[in-house]
């Protein structure tokens, strides 16, 4: 076997062909990207980083420690408010991209990974409500069970099972959201930021 036939060599060449380093980490962007509407995507990424970081700190002591700790309360508040900012900026980003018809130019996968990330994030938020380990989460779980059971999903997704909801909230859903976000950003890098509609009409 020659070096050219090695899977590492072939994989590297394919990756560099699809996403060369100057596309992965560009130093300039088109002029139309100089708009506040493009700030909200990266603001969503920044908020996600704070959500994950504060969630990791909360997980250090288990599911209930932060109720009786001023530091824990502070980190929990950071977790809550970074989630608020995450959804706020993500929704404005969504509206902006919808108005731009950002799926143009073979960017359907970029759009769809964004949609699925949004839905995954909503699931992560809902299981977060169920993981508060207080009366609020108990009340929400008893209200949610009827809706979930009506869909049939209650057989394997039991909102009354705090352990199961906590695992979904801190392992499965964040993992899915972060992986989908990475794919979404890589697709933006490969295809580039969608040009304004007027720009493509004139082209």
């Amino acid at each position: 076997m020659t070096i050219e036939q090695q899977w590492t060599t072939r994989a590297r060449k394919q990756v560099v062909a699809v996403l060369p380093p100057d596309k992965l980490l560009p130093d300039t962007q088109p002029n139309y990207v100089s708009s506040w509407i493009y700030v909200f995507g990266v603001a969503t990424l920044a908020a996600l980083a704070v959500v994950i970081g504060t969630g990791c700190v909360l997980s250090l002591g288990g599911p209930v420690w932060w109720h009786n700790s001023s530091f824990g309360n502070f980190v929990n508040s950071l977790h809550l408010w970074s989630v608020e900012i995450f959804f706020f900026t993500m929704v404005v980003h969504l509206w902006g991209k919808f108005a731009m018809a950002a799926w143009r130019g073979k960017r359907a996968m970029t759009w769809m990974t964004g949609v699925i990330t949004f839905l995954t994030s909503i699931m992560a938020a809902f299981t977060g409500y169920l993981s508060q380990s207080n009366f609020d989460s108990q009340w929400i779980s008893t209200q949610a069970k009827d809706g979930i059971n009506a869909t049939g999903a209650g057989a394997f997704f039991n909102v009354l099972n705090m352990g199961q909801m906590l695992m979904w909230h801190i392992v499965l859903l964040p993992l899915a959201a972060v992986l989908l976000t990475i794919v979404h950003v890589i697709l933006v890098r490969i295809k580039g930021v969608v040009p304004p509609i007027a720009e493509t009409d004139n082209a």
Binding site: N31, S34, I37, F40, E84, F88, V92
Partner: protein
Amino acid sequence: MQLGALFPLNHLGRYLHWHFINISVSNLIVMGLMVTAFIVAVLAPFPGRNERGGKK
């Protein structure tokens, strides 16, 4: 001073009810802020837009 002392939080939320629509005032405020942020983001000039040496 804690922020919670400035904004009394130990009471039921205020809700607006119109026909089948029932929404809390706080949710309505957040939605209004999102719409405002969207409009401002589209209309407000971005600093240094003309001086940047970006691609055409």
